[in-house]
């Protein structure tokens, strides 16, 4: 009988040697004359256990990790293909507390299936959402998405159903679905995990979006830093075409949807939707004035849905189980679940999908296990490079868009980066300006010039030159950027800067509690 062994192809697992682990498993099995088939899955998202190898047994999947390439022969010695005892044996995967405590809706299949196999996707409830969508009118699909309460997971948290409705009602001979897979925010990797771990859920979500608004062409704008995701996506798309889930006649419905991946070229600002559209059109990624909204005049001037990977990958479950089902998760006006990414100085980094309402403290300590260094966690940045830094006193804030707004912070794309007490917040504020200066598209002066000035002023503050005057200057610069920038790159760089000053004044040569 063939034993199935799963070894992830997720690029974080690959970054720790998963290809070599897979090769060694195959070589050892061949050497020992064992009938083993290696399947390359996505990651379950427990990165401190990667490379995590799983074996299919009659009782369920049994996990081993973290497996280094050199550990493979000892796994075979311990008869791991029959769940044998070994120091790396983690027991049944489904019984691992870290996974059991989650509400995995968008990530239901990630790490479980072979990401590029349509058969495997179908065997795990895949394409149920599309099947339902094909029976509904366009307006009813949009209604289901609106009812789910789903808000864009790319950062701005705009209701997805309302955006789709605008595109649906915009008359045009051609409309587009564009997936924003630029994932530029540091501390985030959930888009990547979907594209490498369950790309077909994204393909399905985009197809449903196409049916909902009357678009027959989709593009995935993928950041150039993700070469492995490119391979997985293209394999999955090719397989979906072969199986009749993409192309001129989707599932024999007579409806058409074509899909193509386009590579970005390493500009953070191209994650901003209008800059992204410029880039897709082959131009420099300069941000456009709004209005017109992309929903009215988007790609090549046509009505266009621009949505984040997670937003689109959540659509299939909404159409499968109904808007009401999804809407039942969450708190306040933040409905459903958020795939949270733990990063930085955290012992157990990984992907936690939970209903809104979970607190930072639960995430950092119950899931994260505290800092990796063992020192106290001093600051966390939530929501990428434009997100505020939060001190320990705010760790009980629940993850909820409105609650975060109340404390002048953002959830963004759900990335949480932790720093221990060795962090120098003045340096982090300097870095925020520096990043803005490097990535500015150059259209507005406050962003282009202000960020460069910000770096210079922070340098002076760090040196202790003209301290009071320069602190005032930083605040003035921040105000100008907040109010005079066209997009959030310039407009939100003050978030990390000012939150660092306000919460950690002692790092800026001020007394604790002193406000500059």
């Amino acid at each position: 009988m063939t034993t199935i062994v799963y070894v992830p192809r997720d690029s974080s697992a690959l970054s720790l040697g998963a290809h070599q682990v897979a090769k060694n498993v195959q070589a050892e099995a061949a050497k020992r004359g064992l009938d083993v088939k290696v399947v390359r899955n996505g990651s379950r998202g427990m990165f401190w256990l990667e490379t995590m190898v799983e074996v299919v047994t009659p009782k369920g999947r049994v996990a081993y990790g973290p497996v280094m390439p050199k550990d493979v022969s000892s796994l075979f010695d311990a008869d791991f293909i029959n769940a044998g005892a070994h120091p790396l044996n983690l027991g049944l995967t489904d019984e691992i507390e870290w996974l059991k405590k989650q509400e995995r809706l968008t990530f239901a299949r990630v790490g479980i299936t072979d990401p590029v196999s349509v058969e495997d996707y179908l065997a795990h409830d895949g394409y149920q959402g599309l099947k339902n969508a094909l029976k509904l009118s366009a307006a009813d699909i949009v209604k289901e998405v609106t009812d789910s309460g789903l808000r864009g997971r790319g950062g701005a948290a705009f209701p997805t159903g309302i955006k789709w409705n605008t595109v649906l009602n915009a008359p045009a001979d051609q409309k587009y679905i564009v997936c924003n897979a630029d994932e530029g925010d540091s501390g985030t990797y959930s888009d990547r995990m979907i594209m490498e771990g369950d790309p077909l859920v994204l393909v399905e979500g985009m197809t449903i979006a196409g049916l909902a608004v009357g678009a027959n062409q989709g593009y995935i704008y993928l950041r150039s830093e993700y070469p492995d995701a490119l391979v997985t996506l293209n394999e999955a798309i090719a397989n979906a075409y072969k199986a009749g889930y993409l192309g001129a006649n989707i599932c024999g419905s007579g409806k058409q949807f074509d899909l193509e991946v386009r590579r970005a070229a390493g500009a953070y600002v191209c994650g901003e939707e209008t800059s992204l559209l410029e880039s897709l059109e082959g131009k420099r990624g300069i941000v456009r004035f709004k209005p017109p909204l992309p929903a009215i005049e988007g790609l090549f001037g046509k009505p266009t849905v621009v949505n984040n990977v997670i937003s689109l990958a959540t659509v299939p479950i909404v159409l499968d189980k109904g808007g009401k089902y999804y809407q039942d998760f969450g708190m306040g006006r933040s409905r459903g679940t958020l795939p949270i990414q733990l990063a930085g100085n955290v012992k157990q980094c990984g992907l936690v999908e939970k209903a809104f309402g979970v607190t930072l403290r639960e995430l950092l300590y119950d899931f994260g296990g505290g800092s990796a260094s063992g020192k106290p966690i001093r600051a966390v940045q939530v929501g990428g490079p434009l997100g505020s830094y939060l001190p320990e006193s705010q760790f009980d804030t629940p993850l909820d868009y409105e609650k975060f707004t109340e404390i002048w912070a953002v959830l963004g794309h759900g990335g949480i980066v932790a720093f221990d007490e060795s962090v120098d917040m003045a340096k982090m504020a300097r870095y925020a300006f520096e990043f803005c200066a490097i990535e500015s598209c150059g259209k507005c002066t406050p962003c282009r010039i202000g960020s460069t000035r910000g770096v210079e002023v922070m340098d002076k503050i760090i040196e202790g030159k003209d301290h009071a005057k320069n602190m005032e200057l930083v605040r003035d610069l921040s105000d100008t950027m907040l109010n005079g920038s066209l997009c959030a790159l310039g407009g939100m760089t003050p978030y990390p800067v000012l939150s660092a000053i306000n919460h950690f004044p002692e790092d800026f040569g001020l007394k604790k509690g002193q406000v500059a």
């Binding site: 390493g266 980094c349 990535e439």
Partner: protein
């Protein structure tokens, strides 16, 4: 953009000498092609070394010691960012997040991401790149 990617995948860079033919193929002016190539960090206009080493400078990696790693690499290679080692083996570049933040600090050598990179590991990676 797909054309620029194809050229860079092929040659390792987009030579300025190729602008006129790109402009002609896409019905653009040479200045427009120049504008696009220089806007994007990914495209380079000069030939790189045999390998490209990118170090992640973003927050998660900073929280896990990327600054020390960066200093070590610059010293070991004797180059700064955007420069190539004298032997032509390695071009050093900065990158802002590789989506590998759960395994910080991260680097990328050519198309391979490496996570939890310490000085021992980076020395191995550099030695391997220099030898090949």
């Amino acid at each position: 953009m797909p054309l620029l990617h194809a050229i860079q995948d092929d040659l390792g860079y987009v030579p300025e000498g190729s602008y006129p033919s790109i402009a002609k193929a896409l019905n653009l002016s040479v200045a427009e092609v120049h504008g696009v190539v220089t806007f994007y960090h990914h495209f380079r206009t000069h030939a790189p070394g045999r390998h490209i080493l990118q170090i992640c400078r973003a927050e998660s990696c900073q929280a896990m010691g990327s600054e020390a790693l960066e200093a070590h690499v610059k010293k070991t290679l004797g180059v700064d960012y955007h420069e190539t080692t004298k032997d032509g083996a390695i071009t050093l570049e900065a990158v802002y997040c590789l989506g590998n933040c759960a395994c910080s600090p991260s680097i990328m050598i050519d198309e391979q991401v490496c996570g939890r990179v310490d000085t021992v590991r980076i020395n191995e990676i550099i030695a391997e790149a220099k030898g090949a």
